[in-house]
């Protein structure tokens, strides 16, 4: 087994989802106990006997056997899942019902339903993400806290409050009513998008943790693509966006482990196969009539991905796409990205003008990239002193060592551009 394959973590989500449907969401803690027990058994037995041929099936069977014990022992004391009705109550039907309910396609469905349950609009987005990471991705509260750079106590509180909200319902989200599915799907998209961005732009200094968050978001989006209920054009656009951005992950750190700016990236290190997959997904995402933020962001990423260098990029197309994006999602951050594209298309002076024209640009003051962008453009106009001042502003609001290291190098570059 490759230790990086996260077998336990990934199986955790599948087992918890299946058991939660069988026990009922109100018995979530019981499902967690059974899963924990299955891992302890796997750990002990595999230590000595080595990995079985099909470790996933081994774990699932162990969980199923434990579930049977629990159901037998507690069926008089507890109410289990109402959707299984009396099937679990009689010894005659119990085993068959369990076999059927652990079939792979049902488990796949359970994962999807669990994902929808976690994205309860009653919960703040950060809580939805914490729940997804905990329940579906098998991360502990401690691992989530260190990935999202938040306090452990805060994450534990969010998770336990989230589980209370889940337990208010006795069953997992039902994928039967098309309108309810469509409504909730947009919340699911948003949560997965934020999860991906946390990995892509987030504050965790560890490159490994960050790409792991990106890959988890992609894995869960793939799950949406695999079900006809949820494989909408918007889902495809989201998947396209993630694939296109993730294709650049290998080039985001230079040989010394420093963050490379988009401009400096060695494009030969981009994952071109993944980018190709992203472009295909985007073409299929265009089948619907709806144009979402995900479509536009993916389209922008696709333009970059097609270009061999910064100079050869179709910046006019990118400015056009940002204009569309601002229409659906007017935000100073998007406007800043647009201004940077304007600078590439029409020159640094026009870029600076576009930055000065951003509505509510004071909201960008605490955003290091805002100051860094001003610095880059001033530097291009040979205004070394102004550039240096902006980079210093950026450094003051930098969020982690990687950003600080990057900005220190830019300050040095600005200093070198000063007339001697």
């Amino acid at each position: 087994m490759d230790p990086s394959d996260h077998l336990f973590r990934h199986e955790s989500g599948r087992m918890v989802a299946a058991l939660t449907r069988i026990f009922g969401v109100h018995n979530y803690a019981l499902a967690e106990d059974v899963v924990q027990d299955a891992f302890v058994r796997a750990m002990e037995v595999w230590k000595f006997a080595g990995m079985p041929d099909n470790p996933s099936a081994w774990l699932m069977t162990t969980a199923k056997n434990r579930a049977r014990d629990v159901l037998r022992r507690e069926r008089t004391a507890r109410t289990f899942a109402p959707e299984l009705g009396k099937l679990l109550e009689s010894e005659w039907t119990l085993s068959t019902a369990l076999e059927e309910n652990f079939s792979p396609h049902l488990v796949q469905d359970d994962l999807l339903r669990m994902m929808f349950s976690c994205c309860d609009p009653e919960l703040p987005e950060i809580a939805q993400i914490a729940l997804i990471l905990n329940i579906l991705c098998g991360f502990s509260a401690g691992e989530i806290a260190s990935a999202l750079l938040t306090g452990l106590a805060a994450i534990e509180k969010r998770i336990s409050r989230g589980k209370k909200v889940l337990a208010q319902s006795d069953r997992l989200f039902q994928l039967t009513d098309a309108r309810e599915v469509a409504n909730r799907l947009s919340t699911v998209h948003q949560a997965l998008y934020l999860l991906f961005n946390e990995g892509y732009h987030g504050s965790s200094p560890s490159a490994a943790i960050r790409s792991e968050l990106c890959f988890e978001a992609m894995r869960l989006t793939d799950l949406l693509r695999e079900s006809h209920l949820t494989a909408t054009p918007t889902t495809l656009a989201l998947a396209a966006l993630m694939a296109l951005h993730a294709s650049r992950l290998p080039a985001r750190l230079d040989a010394a482990g420093n963050l490379s700016s988009f401009v400096e990236q060695d494009r030969s290190r981009w994952d071109h196969e993944l980018a190709g997959k992203g472009i295909q997904l985007l073409e299929r995402a265009a089948e619907g009539s709806e144009v979402t933020v995900y479509h536009l962001e993916a389209a922008i990423a696709a333009v970059h991905s097609r270009a061999r260098s910064v100079e050869e990029t179709d910046w006019a197309a990118i400015v056009f796409l940002y204009d569309r994006l601002l229409e659906i999602n007017p935000s100073p951050v998007v406007a800043l990205s647009r201004a940077i594209a304007v600078a590439e298309a029409e020159g640094a002076a026009h870029g600076l003008e576009a930055i000065r024209a951003i509505d509510e640009r004071e909201r960008l003051e605490r955003y290091p990239f805002f100051h860094a962008a001003l610095g880059e453009l001033e530097l291009r106009l040979d205004h070394g002193r102004a550039a240096e001042a902006h980079f210093l502003d950026a450094l003051r609001v930098a969020r982690n060592p990687t950003e600080r290291e990057f900005l220190s190098r830019r300050i040095a570059a600005a200093g070198a551009a000063l007339p001697t």
Binding site: P3, R9, E44, W46, F48, G50
Partner: protein
């Protein structure tokens, strides 16, 4: 070559799925390294945490043992030239990553 019994004692680590997978991976690596060097006679078995103890003439049956230091969690049989070498080989056991973990090394008598 002589044979030695390793008795593993110590609490069973629980933690996040990732942590448990890593613990397991370490054990698998350690045992397979012993095997590839020709020291592993039998990888042995894990033991359930709880059991019964039968004591004395009256064959009194009690549950247990429960004290962590007394519970044998599993055993292996290794081959080594001497007790010194067998002890040395036990050094790499991942059980020492957790407080209270021990490996008891017992020479198996020749019959």
């Amino acid at each position: 070559m002589s044979e030695f019994l390793y008795l593993y004692r110590g609490s069973r680590p629980s933690g996040s799925p990732e942590e448990m997978q890593q613990v397991m991976q370490k054990w698998m690596n350690w045992l397979s390294e012993l095997g590839s060097k020709g020291h592993l006679k039998a990888p042995g078995h894990p033991l359930e945490q709880s059991g019964k103890v039968v004591t004395g003439k009256a064959r009194v049956v009690t549950d247990g043992p429960f004290a962590e230091k007394d519970v044998v969690g599993g055993y292996s049989i290794v081959e080594a030239k001497s007790i010194e070498e067998a002890t040395e080989l036990a050094n790499g056991c991942p059980i020492f990553d957790f407080a209270g973990g021990t490996v008891e090394v017992r020479p198996i008598m020749q019959m």
